[in-house]
């Protein structure tokens, strides 16, 4: 039951990660190249992990700093997995490749948080009745909203 509750919190992040991966490459399946799918999978997993950690209180709703650091590690790893499996090649070597991906991850993190903060509260409203973890997280969102509109 606990696992299902955690997985439900992960769903918005999984969706955003998968869609982001699909945007750039998942659709490559249509032209017979599975490389995009390879990126969509780790991004979805890391996106879901973010939602789960948010539910456990590791991140604060809407806070960018910790989420930015999280993606600065997760995004290069996801890209490294993609490049390693598809063998497209890293022109500048692994270190510069990772440094570049970490730089780009800031943009990715802003987009991710921006989308997550739009989708998560609606999802929590739907699930709060059956899922105590969703109810607790929704409560922290409500408190945050009260603080903002006080």
């Amino acid at each position: 039951m606990n696992l299902r509750h955690s997985l439900e919190l992960a769903l918005p992040g999984v969706l955003i990660g998968a869609v982001a991966g699909a945007i750039a490459g998942g659709l490559t399946l249509l032209v017979g190249q599975p490389s995009g799918l390879v990126l969509a999978v780790p991004l979805a997993i890391f996106g879901g992990l973010y939602g789960t950690l948010l539910g456990k209180g590791f991140f604060r709703p809407g806070a960018f700093g910790p989420a930015g650091l999280y993606w600065m590690l997760a995004f290069p790893v996801a890209r490294l997995i993609q490049e390693s499996l598809t063998g497209l090649g890293m022109r500048d070597g692994v270190l510069l490749f990772l440094a570049y991906q970490a730089l780009v991850s800031v943009g990715f993190a802003i987009g991710f948080i921006w989308m997550h903060e739009r989708i998560m509260p609606h999802w929590l409203l739907r699930r709060a009745g059956d899922n105590p973890r969703a109810a607790a997280l929704l409560d922290s969102y409500v408190q945050q909203a009260r603080r903002i509109s006080r």
């Binding site: 955003i16 869609v19 982001a20 991966g21 945007i23 750039a24 490459g25 659709l27 490559t28 249509l30 032209v31 190249q33 490389s35 995009g36 990126l39 809407g62 806070a63 960018f64 995004f75 890209r79 022109r91 500048d92 510069l96 490749f97 440094a99 570049y100 991906q101 730089l103 780009v104 991850s105 800031v106 943009g107 990715f108 802003i110 987009g111 991710f112 948080i113 921006w114 989308m115 903060e117 739009r118 603080r147 903002i148 509109s149 006080r150």
Partner: protein, 468 residues
């Protein structure tokens, strides 16, 4: 102005708010096409002008917010308080510049390349859809903020992932370091062929034309500062629920330390908006697009020749092909998808903003218009510009009659210099002393006026061309 209480400021660090409109309008052709194009032609060092343009726009945004948050009035009302013809000037410029549906063409043409659907069909359908959605919405601001947030989120995520896949460390390093090559202007840039293009690109670094002025209306509708005392604009279907609009704005007690503490909270809130959300996201998207363009030229040197031409659609198509060759065929399609997305953002934002601005000026300054609800005026301008747009798309020149194109381009850039002067007058003459801008802010806005008007008139007198 009557005195009322200033609401408490929200925490300064936030992610959602009215800046989404400015980002939606600001991240457009300048970021995705004009600046990447200039980088390919003159090198990344030319981006110092972009840095100045966007930073200037961030300060303009802060100063636009100053008057709107302190009074709940738009900058148009502020302009009318200083000198009413100034407000009518902006009223007329908005109609002349923004009723032409040309801004739909780049996005719709990109959509045509992806799907094969003729761009006029997409553009007309888009226009009708925008009208229906804004007419059915209970509170237009809320619907639009939600839709634009999702679209911009998708744009930021997508461009970051594509840049990650096609770019390299050296691309991003040259793009960023190029921004600090202050004063770099190669001799080709100072020619009749390219200087007007550079002036146009500077005007399109961030929000162009009157978009910053409209931001004051979105700020008010979001309930920021004294905007909380002004009713929200509703969709046509819910116009009956609209509360009566006050005939003027309000002011808070600037002698009360508690009120001034709240004011400083609001200034921190909008500063975060200007620096992280507006400046940061605009920079990120343009850096991503520049990296993509550099990667495109590396893959296919023919892109440089294509991009030198004046035909925007050909250049975008060449960039899309090169991006495709860097990754896969679908990456090219996705690149065009971003251009279509940018077009959709701009259309949604522009139609709402134009109608909001014209309705605000009509309601407050056309005799007898106060009897009509603001929501009806908004709907009138919205459907007016939509019907005119459809007629022009079907039967006329989308960008406007060719004989006045130069005049429209001139007016759009001139309006930016004019609003800098307006800001100086409004904020320094109409606001109480404790909340007036500091001298250095005035100096930056003054520099803005010289920057926009100076480049515009230099181009006009030295080369006989206004804006490229």
């Amino acid at each position: 102005m009557p005195i009322r209480k200033l609401p408490d400021a929200p925490p300064s660090v936030h992610i959602l708010g009215p800046t989404v409109f400015l980002v939606a309008l600001g991240v457009g052709m300048g970021e995705s096409y004009m600046w990447p194009r200039l980088v390919l032609l003159f090198g990344p060092e030319i981006r110092w002008l972009f840095l100045i343009g966007v930073t200037l726009q961030a300060v303009v945004m802060l100063e636009m917010a100053r008057y709107a948050m302190a009074t709940g009035e738009s900058i148009f009302s502020g302009a009318a308080r200083v000198f009413k013809p100034l407000m009518w000037f902006f009223f007329v410029v908005a109609i002349l510049v923004y009723i032409w549906p040309g801004h739909l063409s780049a996005g719709a043409a990109a959509f045509e390349e992806i799907t094969g659907i003729p761009w006029t069909v997409t553009a007309v359908t888009g226009l009708i859809l925008v009208g229906v959605v804004f007419s059915l919405a209970k509170v237009i601001y809320n619907v639009l903020e939600n839709v634009l947030s999702l679209l911009i989120g998708a744009l930021v995520l997508g461009t970051a992932v594509v840049a990650a896949m096609v770019g390299s460390w050296s691309d991003v390093v040259t793009t960023i370091t190029g921004m600090f090559s202050f004063g770099y202007l190669p001799s080709e840039a100072l020619t009749a062929a390219w200087f007007p293009v550079i002036v146009g690109a500077c005007a399109f670094a961030g929000p162009s034309g009157m978009q910053q002025m409209w931001y004051t209306l979105h700020l008010r509708d979001s309930g920021a500062g004294m905007g909380v005392h002004i009713p929200k604009v509703r969709g046509l279907r819910h116009a009956g629920e609209e509360e009566e609009m006050p005939s003027r704005g309000f002011m808070f007690d600037t002698e009360d330390p508690a009120e001034m503490a709240k004011w400083r909270g609001w200034r921190r809130w909008v500063t975060f908006d200007a620096l992280l959300l507006f400046w940061g996201i605009t920079m990120l998207v343009t850096i991503s697009f520049t990296v993509i363009a550099q990667a495109a030229v590396r893959q296919n040197p023919a892109v440089r020749t294509a991009i030198q031409g004046d035909d925007r659609e050909v250049a975008l198509s060449a960039m899309s092909d090169a991006v495709a060759s860097a990754g896969s065929a679908v990456l090219g399609t996705i690149f065009l998808g971003f251009i279509a997305l940018i077009g959709l953002n701009a259309t949604l934002g522009l139609f709402d903003s134009f109608s909001r601005g014209q309705a605000d000026m009509t309601h407050n300054f056309v005799p007898g218009a106060k009897k009509v609800k603001m929501s009806y005026l908004y709907a009138g301008f919205l459907w007016g510009v939509i019907i005119f747009g459809i007629l022009i798309l079907l039967f006329g020149p989308a960008d406007g009659p060719s004989g006045i194109l130069d005049t429209l381009a001139f007016l759009s850039t001139f309006a930016m210099g004019a609003y800098c002067v307006t800001l100086l007058l409004v904020n320094n003459r109409m606001l109480p002393k404790p909340i007036r801008p500091k001298w250095w802010t005035n100096a930056i806005i003054g520099f803005g006026a010289v920057f926009y008007l100076g480049m515009l008139f230099y181009s006009l007198f030295a080369f006989g061309v206004v804006v490229g």
